[in-house]
């Protein structure tokens, strides 16, 4: 049970101080999640903190590789406009 940050991360630092398990760390080329530490915030918060503040759609995946914030869910930009 762990999330993953992928390459679309812009290194904005927003998630790092919010993680109740200190699982998120600064790395190159982008922040990473220590899979051994990540609890998906179970027991600490109703909603996973990193995925709740991350401004980049698609940058955080769950353990099945599913985007926690799919395209259009944060910016309101219709996905077909994003692709263009």
């Amino acid at each position: 049970m762990a999330f993953e940050i992928i390459e679309s991360c812009t290194n904005c630092y927003a998630c790092e101080p919010l993680c109740p398990s200190q699982a998120i760390y600064e790395a190159k080329p982008h922040f990473l999640i220590d899979a051994d530490k990540c609890t998906e915030c179970a027991g600490d918060f109703e909603e996973p903190q990193c995925a709740s503040i991350c401004p980049i759609e698609g940058a955080i995946l769950n353990e099945d590789g599913v985007e926690l914030n799919p395209p259009g869910s944060l910016t309101g930009i219709p996905p077909e406009k994003l692709a263009a």
Binding site: T10, N11, C12, Y13, A14, P17, L18, F45, E46, E47, Q49, S52, I53, P55, I56, L74, T75, G76, I77, P78, K81, L82, A84
Partner: protein
């Protein structure tokens, strides 16, 4: 007939619908303020229109995190070619930021102000922001510190901000109505949750207003920035202006939405346009009846360095400042001398204006129509830029009431300074379009080639006032127009009655 510079008319009794003190002129906004406040802003380029000709500012990009999303912002902020808020080239840690500030302060002694404005929100990164301020308090005490914030985390941070002598805060307030807010802010992060839509906007608005009240109660100067979004909040901003003034904000800065498809923002991709120059000025003028308006904002980057309108950030990249060896104690002495010289120059200018005002007192005024003039300047309050080198023009309005600053218009320099100007023609078209409504363009020099097209567009080029003070030159040209009979024919009856 000699005309007054409007800055000096604040002592006249207010007449009609808008109080004389805040009728939108350049720094008459300063004249009716208490001395303590005028003293605080006199060398702050972002708070005083006059100061921005002389003093420089810088932003350090230590705060990349944000706690809200705005529809005019794209969080993939990495472009060195763009100048707009939220964009930076490299994010710094607090130590690097302090080193950069001291390097800039030693190199550009007229830099008086350090602001943290993102590229996210300064107060969504309180640790990084406050670490930077704490070190600067200790190591560079002659630098003024400012914060720019969306206001969401403001109330919880007011106390700590005051500890670091932050006496200028800018809050971006685009609305006071959650229904309007829902069209601007898709979500906020609040109490460990992402809150979308109207509910999020309502919390943001409440926090902004509370933060404003707390800062005012602490005696902190607050400027309110608003982004004008046609069809979304343009009508609503007059109400925003009234409310923030009533709560004690001292300056309102209405800025045009910057929105292009290539910015990848919601507004850019969905075709939301920004306001025209005319629409912006109209809104600023209608807000001016209630509020001191700022019109000289250049909407600079979150890592901008230099005078407003210029960006010398490229001289102070991380690798370059690593090589600089700064003796800050020495630099502070030199900085103090430079600041004293500028202040002396400003004071003598103020005295000269007062004398002029006395000399025209009692003269009967002839009512003449207002004229817009564009001015090319590199700073210093004088006309000292070639027409072809100007990347922006300042716009002044001359009328029988005097002269007032209206705003600025960006353009592509007609000629980058070489002997041959390959793309000069299309750049000239852009400049002529940007200067629409202006009847005169004042610059230190203007070439033969642009002269004809400018005249044909109804814009008289004028290079006869090089190195003169802007307001004096604008008034002199206006007076020439009056003598030549160019001002009387279009006076409308309403003005005659007033």
């Amino acid at each position: 007939m000699e005309l007054p510079v409007l800055n000096n008319t604040a002592s006249e009794a207010p007449k009609g619908g808008c109080s004389a003190g805040s009728c939108g002129s350049t720094d008459d906004q300063m004249n009716h303020l208490p001395d303590s406040i005028r003293d605080k802003v006199k060398n702050h380029p972002c708070y005083s229109e006059e100061a921005h000709h002389y003093f420089a500012r810088m932003h350090v990009a230590v705060a990349p995190a944000c706690n809200i999303q705005c529809h005019y912002c794209n969080r993939k902020y990495d472009c060195s070619n763009e100048s707009r808020p939220g964009v930076v080239s490299e994010v710094l840690n607090p130590k690097q930021a302090v080193k950069k500030v001291m390097a800039v302060a030693a190199t550009i002694p007229q830099m008086t102000v350090l602001g943290i404005a993102g590229p996210g929100d300064a107060l969504a990164n309180p640790q990084r922001t406050f670490d930077t301020f704490r070190m600067l308090n200790e190591q560079a005490p002659d630098i003024k510190l400012c914060v720019s914030t969306n206001g969401l985390a403001l109330p919880e941070n007011v106390e700590e901000m005051c500890q670091y002598n932050i006496d200028h805060v800018t809050i971006t307030i685009n609305c006071v109505d959650p229904d309007v807010g829902a069209k601007i802010y898709p979500w906020i992060f609040w109490n460990n949750k992402r809150i979308k839509g109207r509910e999020g906007a309502a919390i943001l608005i409440e926090q902004q207003q509370k933060g404003l009240e707390m800062l005012v109660a602490k005696g902190v100067l607050v400027k309110v920035n608003s982004v004008m979004i046609p069809g979304v909040n343009d009508k609503h901003l007059e109400e925003v202006s009234r409310i923030v003034k009533a709560k004690g904000a001292f300056l309102h800065n209405v800025m045009p939405l910057i929105s292009e498809e290539e910015h990848g923002t919601f507004y850019g991709l969905t075709g939301q346009r920004g306001p025209t120059n005319e629409e912006l000025q109209e809104l600023q003028d209608s807000c001016a009846g209630d509020m001191n308006m700022m019109r000289h904002c250049r909407q600079c980057r979150a890592d901008a360095v230099g005078l407003l309108g210029e960006d010398r950030g490229a001289e102070f990249t991380l690798d370059k400042i690593e090589e600089m060896d700064i003796d800050y104690a020495e630099a502070m002495k030199m900085r103090a001398e430079v600041h004293a010289a500028i202040n002396e120059e400003l004071e003598s200018k103020h005295k000269a204006k007062e004398t002029k005002l006395v000399s025209i007192e009692g003269l009967k005024k002839e009512v003449t129509r207002p004229v817009l003039m564009a001015v090319a300047t590199k700073g210093g309050g004088v006309i000292n830029e070639h027409f072809g080198h100007a990347g922006e023009f300042l716009i002044y309005e001359a009328s029988s009431n005097g002269v007032r600053f209206i705003g600025h218009r960006k353009t592509t320099p007609y000629c980058e300074g070489g002997d041959t100007c390959g793309d000069g023609e299309s750049a000239l078209d852009v400049t002529i379009r940007e200067l629409s409504g202006c009847e005169v363009v004042l610059c230190s020099k203007v070439g033969y080639e642009p002269w004809g097209p400018l005249e044909a567009a109804g814009i008289q080029p004028n290079g006869e006032h090089a190195m003169e003070a802007i307001e004096d030159a604008v008034l002199a040209v206006y007076e020439e127009m009056r003598v030549a009979g160019k001002l009387v024919e279009k006076v409308d009856e309403q003005q005659k009655v007033a």
